[in-house]
């Protein structure tokens, strides 16, 4: 056996070891995998680790995605070595958690129904009526099929004798199934042969069964049921998973404000009107779901949802109120409840639990405080677990006094020594380290019984000898390999046969919020591109400024000022203007670097990039993985470049700024490519493209107008950079073979409707698209843009004939054309406002609670 791999791997006597048996030998189910590891070269392992790290970064797997707009997201941690479970062991485990899912469902059915568990003394009233997650308005509501827990998760740990224990139950909106899936896609590719040869069970069919069950229990209205995934939004710590699962399951990802209740039915607000929603897979906490009957201060919920549930018009999974049984105090009462409700003994024990509301339990807890961990009975207490053996002196007395004063609010649990499994050492190559592991397993209810996901999320402690495993506290995770003797079910999540009722036409289920965000994604992506271009024009001339390039540099800088990328020295009384004035006195180098990447959050190019990233995270489930990689790359480029500027004495280097601009332009063009080539042509895409075109039109019209008005642009080299700025220099050269001249240059970038970078092209495109939109979605036609186009087409380019641009001053016909272009830019900006009014206006309108006595 591979001694060098195991040289720092110590099996402990007080814990179970997943890989090593009592006698120190590798367990049979681990042997082939370990043999492979031992044979792998250090080089191979390094590649694999790099692959894992890169995939996580590229896929943007995080635990709290962009919760902080400053970009403090935490990458998901994944150890490449899976936790391996043998077929026999899994069978027993799966049977036990299935029983627990049935039991907990039966407990909910009783507590929201006849409450016999309370009347016969099986369960203290304090743990139900005293629990803030007992939702009183839900009492008496019976969900379809009496199913409360459509998806249930159990946190398991292994005791030193090798038995599995339940540490905690996740019943209201269990997280982790999506992370397990993502871990699988990554680790499955790190060890593809082992994955296949070991007969590891696949996960996809579990999700298919979950989908089918929701569709089965959703109300039937003769159309394909619309199932949505309800998220609290991007601030949530597991938002990545919401977006990931929504995309994987094919459910629209919605927030509360996307939904509305009309006449006891739930509807999704889409561009083309309200669409009936049949089922909600929710990741929003129970009490936030309906501000009318539940938490009135919830801005995340849907007023009237409960009434829609009561009327049987929508399925909510898990049922509202199911958070009740996540209480740490409940496990102590489950053996009794299991005998009573199911007539069978509880198959898998919970970690030993004492509810202090019982006199004997309180006395025991105080006597054995050192061996116990104290938890709150109710989530509303916000009480962090306290380890008895860490309490000394007055702290200990204080805790005991609290226990005596309100015993029913506390639970004592036995300390758990987690079992250990090998993790790959990241610092020393070819070393396995023992780490505490806990396993989260998932159970779905189906009309024909419960199914267990053959795998799960293995969580890994940050250090050896752990007592707590938490992703919040720097823990890591693993893929979970469940081996099978039977054939592996290689089903993939694609419907085998699609009936007529299953057919979904593109984009019918797009929420207005998604469309609004896609529109702004288009605008910001284009804005980043155009801003970078203008800054690069100026910066590249600043870097190699000589006597011959100086005039062109000056005119480019002037246009940057006109476009408000650089500060101007105009006198003004506003504070902001004063700040700008002060900035204008900085050295030019510093001004340019500031325009590229300002320290202020919302300013300069970096501000636009951050806004782009922000709107992207709002709709990340709409982007393909490759598209998302590009967005992530932009995020990392920005982060890296900001870090080079972060130090107090960091010298801003123009070369670095130029390199950064090149990177941004490259990413911007791949985003443009994805938009054209990779996205389905639905209403969301249409708005994204309209956003891009409007932004480009506004920029072009303003830039050319500014160019025509500025006296400094008459200097040599200016027309050249104008063509460069508008990405038209190649076309120009291939057509004219002469130094840039005003008339042909203007023809190309203003009037030529075959040039995708011309003003006329944007105008014609927008006029056509808006006509289509008005026809598809109704509403008045836009008149301002066609008029601007007509006026532009009526302009006589011949008036520039025979005039030497370098010798003229800024007068007619330059001013006349500049006026037309400014009018066009204004019309485009007005159009943007009107689109927002017509199609997006309700976004951001938050409901409020009112009371009258």
């Amino acid at each position: 056996m591979p001694q060098s791999l195991l040289s720092s791997y110590q099996k402990k006597n007080d814990r179970f070891d997943e890989m090593l048996a009592e006698d120190g030998c590798v367990r049979p189910s681990w042997q082939p995998f370990l043999a492979h590891l031992a044979a792998a070269t250090p080089e191979q392992m390094r590649h694999r680790l790099d692959y894992v790290r890169r995939r996580i970064l590229e896929n943007g797997v995080t635990y709290n995605v962009y919760a902080d707009p400053q970009g403090a997201d935490r990458p998901w941690e994944l150890d490449p070595l899976p936790l391996i479970l043998s077929p026999g062991e899994w069978q027993e485990l799966a049977g036990a958690v299935t029983q627990r899912a049935r039991l907990l469902n039966a407990v909910l059915k009783d507590l929201y129904g006849p409450q016999t568990l309370i009347t016969d003394g099986s369960l203290p009233a304090a743990l139900v009526f005293g629990h803030n997650n007992f939702l009183w308005p839900c009492q008496g509501i019976r969900p379809p099929g009496d199913t409360y827990l459509h998806l249930y998760a159990a946190d398991l740990a292994r005791s030193p004798d090798g038995r599995w224990w339940v540490i905690a139950d996740r019943t209201q909106a269990p997280s982790g199934a999506g992370y397990a899936l993502e871990n699988r896609t990554i680790v499955g590719r790190v060890f593809p042969e082992q994955f296949r040869d070991l007969h590891v069970q696949h996960l996809a069919s579990f999700f298919r069964q979950l989908q089918d069950s929701l569709a089965h229990w959703a109300p039937r209205t003769g159309e394909a049921p619309l199932i949505v995934l309800l998220t609290p939004g991007p601030y949530n710590e597991t938002y990545f998973e919401h977006a990931y699962l929504a995309r994987y399951l094919g459910f629209p990802l919605v927030e509360g404000q996307d939904l509305t209740v009309r006449g006891d039915c739930v509807y999704l607000r889409t561009l083309s009107g309200l669409r009936r929603v049949h089922a909600l897979l929710r990741r929003l906490d129970d009490d936030y779901c309906d501000p009318l009957e539940l938490r009135g201060d919830s801005a995340l919920g849907i007023p009237g949802l409960l009434q829609a549930v009561r009327a049987g018009n929508v399925l909510v999974a898990n049922a509202l109120g199911s958070g009740l049984i996540e209480s740490a105090a409940l496990p102590g009462f489950l053996p009794g409840a299991c005998r009573k409700l199911l007539g069978e003994p509880l198959a898998m024990p919970s970690v030993a639990t004492w509810w202090c509301g019982e006199r004997a339990a309180l006395a025991f807890t105080i006597e054995h405080l050192d061996e116990l961990v104290i938890k709150g009975s109710y989530p509303s207490q916000r009480f962090d677990p306290v380890f008895g053996n860490e309490l000394h002196g007055s702290k200990r007395e204080e805790m005991i006094a609290r226990l005596r004063a309100r015993p029913q609010a506390y639970v004592a649990q036995e300390l758990v020594n987690f079992s250990e499994a090998p993790a790959w050492s990241t610092s020393h190559a070819r070393r396995l380290l023992p780490r505490g592991v806990g396993l989260r397993v998932f159970v779905a209810a189906t009309p024909s019984g419960h199914v267990v996901m053959p795998g799960g999320l293995t969580r890994v402690s940050a250090a050896s000898n752990a007592r707590v495993i938490s992703m919040q506290r720097g823990g890591s995770s693993k893929d979970t390999w469940v081996l099978t003797d039977a054939a592996v079910n290689t089903f993939s999540l694609l419907k085998q046969s699609v009936g007529k009722a299953d057919i979904v036409r593109g984009g019918r289920n797009l929420s207005s919020r998604v469309v609004e965000n896609l529109y702004w994604f288009g605008r910001y992506a284009e804005r980043c591109d155009k801003t970078s271009r203008l800054l690069r024009v100026a910066l590249s001339r600043l870097v190699d400024a000589g006597a011959d390039t100086l005039p062109a540099l000056n005119s480019a800088l002037d246009l940057c000022r006109t476009m408000q990328l650089l500060p101007t020295a105009e006198t003004d009384t506003h504070a902001a203007a004063k700040a700008r004035k002060a900035a204008a006195e900085l050295p030019l180098d510093a001004q340019m670097v500031h325009a590229v990447c300002s320290k202020e959050w919302g300013e300069g190019l970096a501000g636009d990039i951050r806004r782009l990233l922000w709107v992207a995270t709002q709709v990340r489930e709409r982007f393909s993985l490759d598209n998302w990689h590009a967005i992530n790359r932009l995020q990392h480029q920005l982060q890296q470049y900001s870090e080079t500027l972060a130090g107090e004495d960091a010298q801003p280097e123009l070369g670095e700024a130029l390199a950064f601009l090149d990177q941004v332009l490259l990413t911007a063009s791949s985003l443009a490519g994805f938009a054209m080539d990779n996205m389905t042509r639905d209403d969301g895409w249409r708005f994204l493209i309209i956003g891009r075109r409007i932004e480009r039109l506004v920029f072009l019209a303003n830039a050319v107008a500014g160019f025509l008005r500025l006296p400094s642009t008459r200097a040599a080299g200016s027309l050249e950079w104008l063509l460069e700025l508008t990405d038209s220099i190649i076309t120009y050269r291939s057509r004219y073979m002469i130094q840039p001249q005003l008339l042909p240059a203007l023809d190309l970038i203003v009037f030529d409707d075959g040039n995708p970078h011309s003003v006329a092209f944007q105008l014609q495109f927008l006029v056509r698209y808006l006509d289509n939109l008005a026809r598809l979605l109704g509403g008045p036609r836009d008149e301002a843009l066609p008029q601007a186009l007509t006026r532009l087409q009526a302009f006589d380019l011949g008036s520039f004939e025979g005039q030497s641009f370098s010798e003229c001053s800024a007068c007619n016909p330059c001013l006349e054309l500049a006026g037309l272009l400014s009018g066009t830019a204004l019309a485009a900006a007005t159009l943007s406002d009107r689109l927002a009014m017509r199609y997006f206006s309700h976004v951001g309108d938050v409901s409020r609670q009112t009371f009258a006595s």
Binding site: I118, A126, F129, G140, G304, F851, S853
Partner: protein, 323 residues
């Protein structure tokens, strides 16, 4: 057991609520607890609710505490909302026939109600039979806290071995004496701990405070929403809380009549009888507030509530006295 010392009183009640909004409200959903519930001492003879503007949808049901509740939805833009509830009610006398329980203006003597410790014990986990109905009103709820601060405040009234209603009445008297009625001091959102600290508030605050004290002692007590007679009978002072909806508490005693609830009004320091009309009960205000709603839009709004309770003069039989 109900001591029939007086005949039934009949009342006509009009409860009008009007909102006017600064900008149009595009969507409004309201839960109404404006229909008086029937109980052994009270009968609703006539009742109707009218709403302006015309509602898009309305439905009636009973909530989980058995109170009638009406749910309204208005799904078109509107700038005002008026809800008028009108009821005719008979209220029978229902003071418990217990020595020591009398109107507050008469002296108390030690009575046969069980000690408060016995009651607490009967409600604790492990006692049989399990008092399911009472235990729903024994713990924290959105406006009622179970904390040692309230237990400490209540303690002087809950001396060892004291009959429960004797202790509750003593607590009520202390709240009445030590707290000031002050409509400016609190809002719907004022936490009950602040009420305890500042010693002022309105009837809802006093009810929540008294509930917090009672539940912190391990007793079961519920919040009662209702009305008071607007103009008192001649010779009696006008009570605090008339012209508006009123609130008081009800305390559970398991051994009395096989388990019954007795009302206490800490705002007026008395045991409600025929001059209190019960609308609904729940754990606290949040469960039974007369109008609870969610609106979309509207910006600032003005709210006007008017309650009128008038005795109905019977043309035959025993006529109620009128000024």
């Amino acid at each position: 057991m109900i001591a029939v010392s007086q005949s039934a009183a009949r009342y006509h009640i009009v409860h009008e609520t009007s909102y006017s909004y600064e900008t149009p409200v595009s969507l409004s959903r309201q839960l109404l607890h404006l229909t008086p519930r029937d109980c052994s001492w009270q009968r609703c003879l006539a009742h109707q609710i009218s709403v302006k503007p015309e509602v898009t949808a309305a439905r009636e049901r009973n909530d989980c505490f058995g109170n009638p509740v009406r749910e309204l939805a208005i799904e078109f833009p509107h700038r005002s909302l008026c809800v008028r509830a009108e009821s005719t009610i008979d209220v029978l006398p229902h003071l418990p026939a217990l020595a020591g329980i009398t109107h507050a203006d008469r002296a108390l003597s030690a009575g046969p109600s069980p000690t408060w410790e016995t009651v607490r014990e009967a409600l604790a986990y492990g006692s049989r039979p399990v008092l399911l109905d009472a235990s729903r009103f024994q713990f924290e709820s959105p406006y009622v806290r179970v904390k040692h601060e309230f237990a400490s405040y209540a303690r002087p009234s809950f001396t060892p071995g004291r009959p429960v209603f004797d202790a509750v009445q003593a607590l009520m008297r202390r709240i009445y004496d030590e707290f000031d009625f002050d409509p400016e001091a609190t809002t719907v959102a004022t936490p009950v701990l602040k009420v305890l600290a500042e010693k002022r508030g309105v009837c809802q605050d006093f009810a929540h405070l008294m509930l917090s004290c009672l539940r912190s002692q391990g007793l079961a007590a519920r919040y009662v929403s209702g009305y008071l007679l607007t103009q008192p009978p001649p010779g009696q002072p006008r009570m605090v809380g008339a012209d508006a909806s009123h609130a008081w508490v009800s305390v559970f005693c398991p051994e009395l009549d096989g388990g019954r609830w007795v009302d206490f009004d800490p705002t007026n320091n008395l045991l409600p009888d025929t001059q209190h009309i019960t609308l609904a009960w729940g754990r606290d205000f949040a469960d039974v507030s007369p109008l609870r709603g969610i609106i979309l839009g509207g910006d600032a709004h003005e709210l006007d509530v008017a309650v009128t309770v008038t005795p109905v003069v019977e043309t035959r039989g025993e006529a109620a006295l009128l000024p």
